[in-house]
Amino acid sequence: MQFMLLFSRQGKLRLQKWYVPLSDKEKKKITRELVQTVLARKPKMCSFLEWRDLKIVYKRYASLYFCCAIEDQDNELITLEIIHRYVELLDKYFGSVCELDIIFNFEKAYFILDEFLLGGEAQETSKKNVLKAIEQADLLQEVSNTGLHPESFVNPSCV
C-alpha cells in the first residue's frame, strides 16, 4: 500500500498516512485530486478505480471515506477488508466510532493504524492482538501519568 487517506463527505481530510516518500506539494496534489475523484462517484459504483499507475480502493463508512492506493499486483478485495478491519478496530476501541472520535483523538487513530499496518503492509491482522497492544500502551500511559517511571514498569509478557 502506498498511502491511506480518510476524508469526510465534505472533502475534509481527517487522516493521512503515507508509506512512500513524497514532497508535501505532491501529497497535497494527490489528496486534492483523489478526494475529488472519489467524492464524484455514485454509491453503487465499484470500489476500485485505476488512477495513474496505481489502483485506488475506497469505501464509505457513514460520513467518512477510507481510501487506499495500492500497486498493480496488489489484491483489491483484501485491501477492502484491511479498511474494514481498521474500522472495526476503531469501533471497538472508541465504542461505536464516529467521525468526531477520529477528529478529537486523531493521535489514537494513528496509533491504532500503526499497530495494524507497518510500512504499508498488514503487520498484525488479529483484532485481539492489535487491541491488546493498544491497551498496553494506554496502561503504560496511565502508569506514567501517575508518575511512575516507565522503566520500572515490567511487561509480564516480556519476561
Partner: protein, 917 residues
C-alpha cells in the same frame, strides 16, 4: 477499553479542536489557527522551559493544524526532544509527529536516529516497537528479527521494518546469514509473525529469487494447512469465517515470484491447495456479510493470479475461467469488475483463450448495461483481449456501436483498439476501410493522426482495395457535414485513386473535384495544404479539369494566402502545371509507391498509452496486414528524380515544419526508421570547432544548447533543451546515434523527462570517450509531441577529433626537429584557401587556441605566421600534431599545413580548421 484513552487529559487540545470546529467561515478558522501558531511559537521560544506535558500538547496541536492542510515549519526540535523523554505518551507523540511530518532528507535525521537507537537498545518492548515504526536506519534489525528471545510483536515490526528498508535503501541491510533464518519464520507458531515475515520474504524473493527458493516448500505447506483447516482453528486469525485471508493472499503472492515447483510432490500439493480454494468458491457462503465474501474471494482471485502466472495446468485455467464467468453476472459490482480484469489475463493463455471466448455475450452485455464507467472500461479491455479472427467482426461492431455513447474519457482508447483489431483481423479489406470510415464518422475528434495515416498506408499498399476505397470515401464525402479527418482521407485517396471511379458519370473528375473543393474553405490549414496536393494530382490524372484547377490555384485566396505553406504550394503547383510537359508531370505526380511495411504505429501508440505489459498480447500466429518486414525507408524516394522527391515530400508534409519533412506517413514511432527521413541539421556544427559552448540548433519550438568539457581522451557534454513555446512538449525523447566506427565513443547518455513544460529547460548529459581517431560525428535525435504533432529533429553533435587535444609547449628547436621527423609525404596535409572572415591576428590566435593546440611564440622566423602543437589523446594511442598557418593579407589567402604521425588525423584536422578562417 480504558476510559482514560479519550483525550487523555490534553484538555487544551480538545478545546482547540472544538474552537476550530465552531468556526463559521474559512477566514475565522485561519484566524484561529494563526493565533494558535503564534501562541505555540512564543511558548517554544519563551525563556521558561516547558514541561513534557505542555510540549506534548503543543506538538499535538501542530499535528492537528497540519492535518487541516496548513504548512508547519517549526516544532520539529520539540518533537525530537519528546523522543528522548522517559514518559511513554510523550515519546509516542514525538514519534507520531516525526513519522507524519518529517521527510527523510531533513537534517534532523541525525537527532532522530539517536533517539531511535536508544529505544532499540532498551529492553522495553513497547519502546522498541515505537522505534521500529519510525525507523530510519538499520544494521541491528536483522538481529532483532531472528533472535530467539525477541517478543512476537517486536519480530513483526522488525520484519516489516526491514522490508521498508530493503525497498528504500537496500545497501543498508546486506543479505547475510540471517536471510536463511528469515525463511524459517514461515514456520513460526505465531500467525502474526508469519504474516509480517511473508511480506518481507516476498519482497526479498523478488530481488534475489535464488536466495529464497527454500521458501516455496514452506509457503506451500503453510498454505495447505490454512486452506484445509476448519474455519475456527485459527481463532482470531479467522476473519468472518475465512481462515487467515491476509496470510493466504500473501503466501499466494510469494509463490508468484517463482515458476511452478519442480518437485512433483510439492507441485501436486500446491495444485491440491488451489483446487480446494476453487472448490470453496462453490460452497454456500457461511455468512451473508460482504466481509465474508470479500475475504473468501480475495484469496480466490489471488489463487487465480497464481494459476495464470504458472500457466501450466489447463484444467485449473479452465476452472478459473468458469469461476470468473460466474462472477461476470454477480450482483456485486466489485466482483464483476475484478472478474473482467482477471479474464483479460486469462485470454492471453493458449489454454484458456477459447474458454474466455464463450463469455462474449455477457461481456458485450456488460458494455451496454454497466452503469459504472470503470467497469465498462474493463469490458472493453476484455473484448479487445479475447478478439481473434473468429469474432473480430462482432467485437468491432459492438465497440463501434458503444463508441457512439461512450464516455469521453475512454473514447480515444476505444478508437485505437477498434483500428488495431480492424487491421489485424481484416480478411476482407473493404470491411477494414468501412470500419475506419465509420470510426471517423462516429468519433472523428478522437481519431488521432496515426489512425488515418494507417488507413492510407494500407490502401496504398493493397491495390485490391483502392477502387473500393475511392468509391467509399467519395460517398462518405457526400454527407453535408463530415469530419475534417474524413476530408483528409478523402482528399488523399481521391488524389491517388480518383481515376478508378472516374468512369462513372456520377463521380466524374469534375464532380470529384467540386466535392472536395466544397469542403476546402471549412478546413484547417494542414488539411487545405493536403487538398492542394490532391488538386495537383488531379491535374495529372484528369487533364480535362486542368483549367478549372488552375483557375482555383490562381485565385488571390490561394496565390496570396497569408499562410506561407499554402501560398507556396499554390505558387509551385500552378507553375508546375503550366511549364511541365505531360511526361514530366506524370513522373513527378506518379502514384505513391508502397510504404515500407512494419508494425502498426497505432499499436505502438496503444502500447505507450497503456504502458508495456498492460496490453494483453493478442499477436499470435496471425501476422499484421503488413507483416513486420522492415524495408529501408529510402526505397520511397531514392530511385526518383529530385523533383519527385520534393513533390512527394510536399504531398506528405502537412505540418509545414521543415524538419518533420517527409516523415509523415511513415511509422512515426520506430526511431531508427524515421531517422533516415529526417534531415540532419549541421548548420551550426562548424561553429563548435573552436569553442565548446553555444546554441547548436534552434527553430520556432525548440532551442538546443551545448556546454562541453574535455580532458585528455574523455569528454562530457551537457545538452540543454529549451521549450520556447508556452505549451508542454509531450513524449519527449532524445537519443544519440552514430555509425559503427563511432559506436563506443559515446559512453552514456542520461535520461530526460518525457515532458518539458512550456518555457522550461531540461538537461541531458553525454559522456564521451575518444577510442581512436575518427571523422564522423554522432547525431542527436530528438522527438516530441507538440500540439498533436510529432516533431523529429536530428542534429549533428560537435564531437570532433580536435576536442581531445592537449596543448604542448615546446621550444623552437624542438618544434623544427619534430617537424622534420614528421616529414613523410602522407603525414603532411596542406591546404591553401581564401579567407572567409576579416584577417585579424587576435581572432586567429583565439581560434587556434580554441582548436586545442598550444600557440608557440617566436618559433616561426616569420612573425606573421602562427605555429601550434598538441597531442590528441585517444584510448588506444596518442597522436602528436604540429600545425602552421601562414596568412597572406595581400591575397586574402591562408596556407595551412598539418603534420601528424597519422595521415587520417592530419587530413581530418586540416578539414576542420581550414573552415574557420
Amino acid at each position: 477499553m480504558p476510559a482514560v484513552s479519550k483525550g487523555d487529559g490534553m484538555r487544551g487540545l480538545a478545546v482547540f479542536i472544538s474552537d476550530i470546529r465552531n468556526c463559521k467561515s474559512k477566514e475565522a478558522e485561519v484566524k484561529r489557527i494563526n493565533k494558535e501558531l503564534a501562541n505555540i511559537r512564543s511558548k517554544f521560544k519563551g525563556d521558561k522551559a516547558l514541561d513534557g506535558y505542555s510540549k506534548k500538547k503543543y506538538v499535538c496541536k501542530l499535528l492537528f493544524i497540519f492535518l487541516l492542510g496548513h504548512d508547519i515549519d517549526f516544532g520539529h526540535m520539540e518533537a525530537v526532544n519528546l523522543l528522548s523523554s522517559n514518559k511513554y505518551t510523550e515519546k509516542q507523540i514525538g514519534y507520531l509527529f516525526i513519522s507524519v511530518l518529517v521527510n527523510s532528507n531533513s537534517d534532523l535525521i541525525r537527532l532522530i536516529n539517536n533517539g531511535i537507537k536508544n529505544d532499540l537498545a532498551s529492553r522495553n518492548p513497547t519502546f522498541m516497537n515505537l522505534a521500529l515504526h519510525c525507523i530510519a536506519f538499520a544494521s541491528e534489525i536483522p538481529r532483532i528479527l531472528v533472535a530467539g528471545d525477541t517478543m512476537d510483536s517486536v519480530k513483526q515490526s522488525a520484519a516489516l521494518c526491514l522490508l521498508r528498508l530493503n525497498r528504500t535503501s537496500p545497501d543498508l541491510v546486506p543479505m547475510g546469514e540471517w536471510t536463511a533464518r528469515v525463511v524459517h519464520l514461515l514456520n513460526d507458531q505465531h500467525l502474526g509473525v508469519v504474516t509480517a515475515a511473508t511480506s518481507l520474504i516476498t519482497t526479498l524473493a523478488q530481488k534475489s529469487p535464488d536466495d529464497f527458493k527454500t521458501s516455496i516448500s514452506l509457503a506451500v505447506a503453510r498454505l495447505s494447512r490454512i486452506v484445509t483447516s476448519a474455519s475456527i482453528d485459527l481463532q482470531d486469525y479467522t476473519y468472518y469465517f475465512v481462515a487467515a485471508p491476509w496470510l493466504s493472499v500473501k503466501l499466494l503472492r510469494l509463490l508468484q515470484c517463482y515458476p511452478p515447483p519442480e518437485d512433483a510432490a510439492l507441485r501436486s500439493r500446491l495444485t491440491e491447495c488451489l483446487e480446494t480454494i476453487l472448490n470453496k468458491a462453490q460452497e454456500p457462503p457461511k455468512s451473508k456479510k460482504v466481509q465474508h465474501s470479500n475475504a473468501k474471494n480475495a484469496v480466490l482471485f489471488e489463487a487465480i493470479s497464481l494459476i495464470i502466472h504458472h500457466d501450466s495446468e489447463p484444467t485449473l485455467l479452465v476452472r478459473a475461467c468458469n469461476q470468473l464467468g460466474q462472477f461476470l453476472q454477480h450482483r456485486e459490482t466489485n466482483l464483476r469488475y475484478l472478474a473482467l480484469e482477471s479474464m483479460c489475463t486469462l485470454a492471453s493463455s493458449e489454454f484458456s483463450h477459447e474458454a474466455v471466448k464463450t463469455h462474449i455475450e455477457t461481456v458485450i452485455n456488460a458494455l451496454k448495461t454497466e452503469r459504472d464507467v470503470s467497469v465498462r472500461q474493463r469490458a472493453v479491455d476484455l473484448l479487445y483481449a479475447m478478439c481473434d479472427r473468429s469474432n473480430a467482426k462482432q467485437i468491432v461492431a459492438e465497440m463501434l456501436s458503444y463508441l457512439e455513447t461512450a464516455d469521453y474519457s475512454i473514447r480515444e482508447e476505444i478508437v485505437l483498439k477498434v483500428a488495431i483489431l480492424a487491421e489485424k483481423y481484416a480478411v476482407d479489406y473493404t470491411w477494414y476501410v468501412d470500419t475506419i470510415l465509420n470510426l471517423i464518422r462516429i468519433a472523428g475528434d478522437y481519431v488521432s493522426e496515426e489512425v488515418w495515416y494507417r488507413v492510407i498506408q494500407i490502401v496504398i499498399n493493397r491495390d485490391d482495395v483502392q477502387g473500393y476505397a475511392a468509391k467509399t470515401v467519395f460517398e462518405a464525402l457526400q454527407a453535408p457535414a463530415c469530419h475534417e479527418n474524413l476530408v483528409k482521407v478523402g482528399g488523399y485517396i481521391l488524389g491517388e485513386f480518383g481515376n478508378l471511379i472516374a468512369g462513372d458519370s456520377r463521380s466524374s473528375p469534375l464532380v470529384q473535384f467540386n466535392l472536395l473543393h466544397s469542403k476546402f474553405h471549412l478546413c484547417s490549414v494542414p488539411t487545405r495544404a493536403l487538398l492542394l496536393s490532391a488538386y495537383i494530382k488531379f491535374i495529372n490524372l484528369f487533364p480535362e479539369v486542368k483549367a478549372t484547377i488552375q483557375e482555383v490555384l490562381r485565385s488571390d485566396s490561394q496565390l496570396r494566402n497569408a499562410d506561407v505553406e499554402l501560398q507556396q504550394r499554390a505558387v509551385e503547383y500552378l507553375r508546375l502545371s503550366c511549364i511541365a510537359s505531360t511526361d514530366i508531370l506524370a513522373t513527378v505526380l506518379e502514384e505513391m509507391p508502397p510504404f515500407p511495411e512494419r508494425e502498426s504505429s497505432i499499436l505502438a501508440k496503444l502500447k505507450r498509452k497503456k504502458g508495456p505489459g498492460n496490453l494483453p498480447d493478442i499477436d499470435d500466429a496471425r501476422r499484421n496486414v503488413n507483416g513486420n518486414t522492415e524495408h529501408s525507408e529510402k526505397t520511397e524516394t531514392t530511385n526518383k528524380v529530385t523533383l519527385v522527391r520534393t513533390a512527394s515530400a510536399y504531398l506528405l508534409n502537412l505540418n509545414s515544419t521543415p524538419t518533420a519533412g517527409a516523415s509523415l506517413l511513415v511509422d512515426v514511432f520506430s526511431d531508427s526508421s524515421t531517422l533516415a527521413s529526417v534531415e540532419v541539421s549541421d548548420e551550426n556544427f562548424p561553429r563548435f570547432v573552436c569553442k565548446n559552448n553555444g546554441v547548436i540548433f534552434e527553430n520556432q519550438l525548440l532551442q538546443i544548447g551545448l556546454k562541453s568539457e574535455y580532458r585528455q581522451n574523455l569528454g562530457r557534454m551537457y545538452v540543454f533543451y529549451g521549450n520556447k513555446t508556452s505549451t508542454q512538449f509531450l513524449s519527449f525523447s532524445s537519443s544519440v546515434t552514430c555509425n559503427d566506427t563511432l559506436k563506443n565513443h559515446i559512453l552514456s547518455t542520461s535520461s530526460v523527462d518525457p515532458i518539458i513544460e512550456g518555457g522550461a529547460q531540461v538537461q541531458q548529459i553525454l559522456n564521451i570517450e575518444c577510442v581512436s581517431d575518427f571523422t564522423d560525428a554522432p547525431v542527436l535525435n530528438v522527438q516530441f509531441r507538440y500540439g498533436g504533432t510529432l516533431q523529429n529533429i536530428a542534429v549533428k553533435l560537435p564531437v570532433m577529433l580536435n576536442k581531445f587535444f592537449q596543448p604542448t609547449e615546446m621550444t623552437s628547436q624542438d618544434f623544427f626537429q619534430r617537424w622534420k621527423q614528421l616529414g613523410a609525404p602522407q603525414q603532411e596535409v596542406q591546404k591553401i584557401f581564401k579567407a572567409k572572415h576579416p584577417m585579424d591576428t587576435e581572432v586567429t590566435k583565439a581560434k587556434i587556441l580554441g582548436f586545442g593546440v598550444a600557440l608557440l611564440d617566436r618559433v616561426d622566423p616569420n612573425p606573421e605566421n602562427f605555429v601550434g602543437a598538441g597531442v590528441i589523446h585517444s584510448k588506444n594511442t596518442q597522436v602528436g600534431c604540429l600545425l602552421r598557418l601562414e596568412p597572406n593579407t595581400q591575397a586574402q589567402m591562408y596556407r595551412l599545413t598539418l603534420r601528424t604521425s597519422r595521415d587520417s588525423v592530419s587530413q581530418r584536422l586540416c578539414d576542420l580548421l581550414s573552415e574557420q578562417f
